[in-house]
Symmetry: C2
Subunit: 226 residues, 2 copies
DNA sequence: CGGCTGATTGAATCAGATCAACTGCTGTGG
DNA sequence: CCACAGCAGTTGATCTGATTCAATCAGCCG
């Protein structure tokens, strides 16, 4: 039945507070899908037919260049929806998506979703809020990439993690290579940036465990420019 | 009266096809405002109270670093709406805005606009399409910044202008310094990139007039990575 | 005619990418 | 159970694209 789909839909933040009837009709059109780590969900440039949501697992959205360099745009985890852009344009996916871990996903066809939006203004407002938040994040990312250097970007990222995890002993949520790609650099350079922050006494790193020693110092660095 | 406001509102693409009644109620809350070249409309971090639309003139939206370096995110001209992000979050403007020329603007308070959205699903869909288009553009910009070098970004920008202006004799729509800032670099570097493309026989530049000599070559370059 | 701003050119410097070697870890198969 | 393949991460040496600093030039307005 749709009961597992319903449960999965209920766990998506975007659909919180949606009346039962709407959830039902979503369950009618949504597909529940399992995929393995490393699996590609879609590629930049392909026609964008579906909206996705992560039930469990982890998905990265990125752009690749011909030479194989990649820029991570965002990593989505349980409860988050993504790939909304082509829903409203009927065009292609602007980026590629790949599962980082074994994951469960919901995929919702564009057509039906738009119908739902037309009928439920509150959901529409939720979507607009989501898109806006994404825009805000991208504005920040663009500014970081062009205005700051790698150690500063790293400092910003660590502070973000800190506020997400709510303490000073962090666990890196991604392999370092992926973090490098998110910060717009390569593993070698990230490695050196980590060393630099460590030498300055701002952090302490052991594998994927990071201890924030000097949050204010990090914040100062993250704001700083040369 | 509101007749000039109505005319101005009618010229905004986002509001095209809006029923007369809705336009009226928009006119009731919108402010028509004139501002001079160089004037700042709002700054990143300020509480975002208004949505804007350009009636005439030109506005740039950008982020500045403390040291005075700036990254242009977008330049808006007649008929375009901007600063939608804080409307749906009630938070701050993620970037700053400044008039590049003497301009006429509409400013629409957040509150009333959200009301309107609740009542008109078609407008809401229009807003979502707008936000999505913006996201797509930002994805492209992020990829360019981190995956390509300056001459390649310039090639992409020129091709964009070409398709916007519909011919091979282009007029640069911005002073070169602003173009540099949009491309994530500085005037000196842009100048050298222009020289490089010229020497390769791809373009011919005289002041702010550019002639595209080899569109395919430019396209190849724009796609290329090292 | 100065004086200002925008643009260009040259030389020096620097952050980050590249290339290459090496470490350590994990998981698989002999 | 150990060996070795393979991948993630680190470290060092070098190279290069871009920024910085400085000087010059062109156009424009008062």
């Amino acid at each position: 039945m749709d009961t597992d789909k319903l449960a999965a839909l209920g766990g998506i933040k975007l659909f919180e507070g949606l009346p039962q009837a709407q959830l039902q009709s979503l369950a009618g059109i949504a597909q529940l899908r399992r995929c393995k780590a490393g699996e590609t969900l879609f590629e930049a440039g392909q026609p964008g037919t579906h909206l996705f949501a992560v039930v469990s697992g982890k998905v990265r959205v990125f752009r690749a260049s011909l030479s194989g360099k990649e820029q991570v745009l965002h990593v989505f985890t349980g409860g988050e929806a993504f790939a909304e852009v082509p829903v409203f344009e009927g065009k292609t996916y602007p980026a590629s998506a790949q599962a980082l871990e074994d994951s469960e996903l919901l995929s919702i066809p564009r057509k039906g979703f738009v119908e739902l939006l037309r009928r439920d203004p509150e959901l529409a407002l939720g979507v607009m809020a989501l898109l806006s938040a994404r825009l805000r994040a991208f504005v920040g990312q663009i500014a970081q990439l062009s205005l700051k250097e790698v150690p500063e970007r790293l400092a910003g990222y660590l502070l973000l993690l800190r506020s997400a995890q709510g303490r000073d002993e962090l666990t890196l949520d991604l392999p370092k290579g992926q973090i490098a790609s998110y910060l717009g650099t390569i593993p070698e350079t990230l490695s050196r940036a980590i060393k630099k922050l460590s030498e300055q006494g701002l952090i302490e790193v052991l594998g994927s465990r990071v201890r924030i020693l000097d949050p204010e110092g990090l914040a100062r660095l993250a704001e700083a420019d040369r």
